[in-house]
C-alpha cells in the first residue's frame, strides 16, 4: 500500500468518524430514566424466575433431548425441555416451543446444527402474554411483536444455528405465521449466512422454506457446483444428518438446509421438483 493511499484511507476513516460524531449529536439525550430501567430490569428478572418455576412443574417425565436456550441477557445456557402438555385438554402449550432439528453435520472437524423452535398460536391476549413471558426464557422474542395483542392468532418460529462442540445457539432468522402463510408451487423463501463466527465469512449456509408439495430444492454455489435436497421418503424415518426437506409441526410450510462446500458460497436456490 502506498503512502498516499494510506493517507487517503486515514482521511476517509477520519472523515467518516467525524460525520458519525456529528450525526450522533442529532439525538436528544434527555434524562436517563433510571427508575423505568430499574422497574424493567426487576420485571425481567422476576419473569425469568416465574417461567423457570412453571417449566419445572411440567418437566417431570420428559424424555426430550437437551436443548440450548438463551437467557434474556444474551448468555447461553442449557435448558431441559419440559414435557408437552396433554393435548386432551385442548390447551395449547404456551410454555415451551416445539424444537425440530433441521440439519446437523460436521464441517471439517467442527460439528454444526440448525434447529427451529415453533411456538403455538395463542388464542387470546392472556395466552399471548403467557407465551411472551415463556419466550423470554428461551430468548425467542418475535421482532415485530410489541405487545401481547400482536401475537394473538399467530404462531412464531425461531431458527437457530449452533457451530462447535460447546457453542450456544445463534438466532439466525425468525418470523410469525398465520393460517394464510401457506406456500404453494415453487414458492421459496430462504436466507444465507456464514456457518458461524470464526469461519471464513463466506455465505455458505442456506436455510429456507418451501411449499408442502415441493419435492426437491437445488442450491447453486458460486464455484458452479450444486447441492440437491430432496424430500424424505417417509417423514418419520429421517436421519438428522441427511439434508432433506423437513416437515415442521405447527408451520404451514416445510424447511430445508444446504451447506456450500468449503471455499465457495451461495449463488442461487430454487425449487426444482
Amino acid at each position: 500500500m502506498s503512502a498516499d493511499r494510506e493517507t487517503d484511507n486515514h482521511m476517509t476513516h477520519h472523515d467518516i468518524a467525524l460525520l458519525l460524531a456529528d450525526a450522533a449529536d442529532e439525538v436528544e439525550i434527555g434524562i436517563a430514566p433510571t427508575q423505568a430501567v430499574l422497574r424493567g430490569g426487576r420485571r425481567r428478572r422476576a419473569r425469568r424466575w416465574a417461567v423457570a418455576a412453571a417449566t419445572a412443574v411440567v418437566v417431570a417425565g420428559s424424555t426430550g433431548a437437551l436443548a440450548l436456550s438463551g437467557l434474556p441477557n444474551g448468555q447461553e445456557r442449557a435448558v431441559t425441555p419440559a414435557a408437552p402438555q396433554p393435548s386432551s385438554t385442548g390447551t395449547p402449550n404456551l410454555y415451551e416451543p416445539q424444537t425440530t432439528m433441521l440439519a446437523t453435520g460436521t464441517d471439517g472437524s467442527t460439528p454444526w446444527s440448525v434447529s427451529i423452535d415453533v411456538w403455538t398460536a395463542p388464542r387470546d391476549q392472556l395466552e399471548a402474554q403467557a407465551e411472551l413471558d415463556a419466550m423470554v426464557q428461551y430468548d425467542d422474542m418475535p421482532g415485530d411483536v410489541r405487545e401481547a395483542a400482536d401475537l394473538v392468532g399467530k404462531g412464531a418460529y425461531f431458527v437457530h444455528r449452533a457451530v462447535g462442540e460447546d457453542s450456544g445457539r445463534v438466532l439466525t432468522t425468525e418470523g410469525v405465521v398465520t393460517k394464510d402463510s401457506a406456500m404453494s408451487g415453487r414458492d421459496i423463501q430462504a436466507g444465507t449466512s456464514p456457518l458461524g463466527p470464526g469461519h471464513d465469512g463466506l455465505e455458505r449456509l442456506v436455510i429456507g422454506s418451501v411449499a408442502r408439495t415441493a419435492q426437491q430444492v437445488t442450491c447453486e454455489w458460486k464455484d458452479g457446483t450444486k447441492s440437491v435436497v430432496r424430500r424424505a421418503a417417509e417423514e418419520n424415518v429421517i436421519n438428522s444428518d441427511e439434508f432433506t426437506i423437513r416437515r415442521v409441526e405447527g408451520l404451514p410450510f416445510d424447511w430445508f438446509v444446504c451447506l456450500a462446500p468449503a471455499g465457495t458460497e451461495y449463488k442461487d436456490v430454487k425449487v426444482t421438483g
Binding site: T7, T12, A23, A24, N73, T192
Partner: protein, 179 residues
C-alpha cells in the same frame, strides 16, 4: 442483605446515569431514530440490570454492555426470511438507496449519513458504528458483535464502501481507499 441490594441498585443507577448519553448516541447511529434508540438503550440496560451482580464487579463493564446492546439490536432488526434472501450482490448499492431524484439535493451531510446508515444491513451498520464511532479495535468490535475479526473487517469495509458511494457525502469523504 437488604442494604447490600440497595447499594447494588444505587451503583447500577449511577452506572445508568453515567453511560446514558454515550449509549444513546451509539443507539441512535444503530437505529437512526430517537424513540428506537431510547427503546434499545432502555432494553439493554434492563438486561444489564438482570446480570448486574456479575457485571457490576467485572473489569470491563463497557464491553459487556456493548455486547448486550448489539445483541438486542441484532434481534430487533433481524431480517425476516423474505428480506434475508434479498439479492446478495453488494455491488448493487444503487438499488438499496433512495432514487437520486427523490433526494433533496441540499440535504446536509448529517441527514445523508443517517439515511445511508439506515440502508446498511444491520451487521454492516454495527461494524461501522463500533469501529468509527465507538473507535473500537477490530477485535473489540468482533467481541461485541460475537463474530470473527474477519467478519468485522468485511462488514466494516462493505459498509464504508456504501457510505462512500453516497453522492451527498462524496464532497466530504475522500475516495482514497476505494477499489
Amino acid at each position: 442483605m437488604g442494604d447490600r441490594k440497595q447499594a447494588r441498585d444505587e451503583e447500577f443507577q449511577a452506572f445508568v446515569i453515567g453511560r446514558w448519553p454515550r449509549l444513546m448516541r451509539t443507539a441512535f447511529l444503530l437505529t437512526g431514530e430517537q424513540h428506537a434508540a431510547e427503546d434499545l438503550v432502555q432494553s439493554t440496560l434492563e438486561q444489564v440490570y438482570v446480570a448486574w451482580r456479575k457485571v457490576g464487579s467485572a473489569d470491563d463493564q463497557e464491553a459487556y454492555v456493548r455486547r448486550v446492546m448489539i445483541n438486542a439490536h441484532a434481534r430487533k432488526h433481524r431480517r425476516r426470511l423474505k428480506e434475508f434472501l434479498a439479492p446478495k450482490d453488494d455491488s448493487g448499492i444503487s438499488h438499496e438507496l433512495p432514487d437520486t431524484g427523490d433526494r433533496i439535493s441540499q440535504a446536509d451531510d448529517r441527514n445523508a449519513l443517517l439515511r445511508a446508515l439506515a440502508q446498511l444491513p444491520p451487521r454492516q451498520r454495527q461494524a461501522v458504528v463500533l469501529r468509527y464511532w465507538e473507535d473500537l479495535t477490530e477485535s473489540q468490535a468482533a467481541e461485541a458483535m460475537g463474530c470473527s475479526v474477519g467478519a468485522v473487517k468485511s462488514n466494516a469495509a462493505k459498509g464504508i464502501a456504501k457510505l462512500r458511494a453516497i453522492p451527498e457525502l462524496a464532497e466530504t469523504v475522500t475516495y482514497g481507499g476505494r477499489k
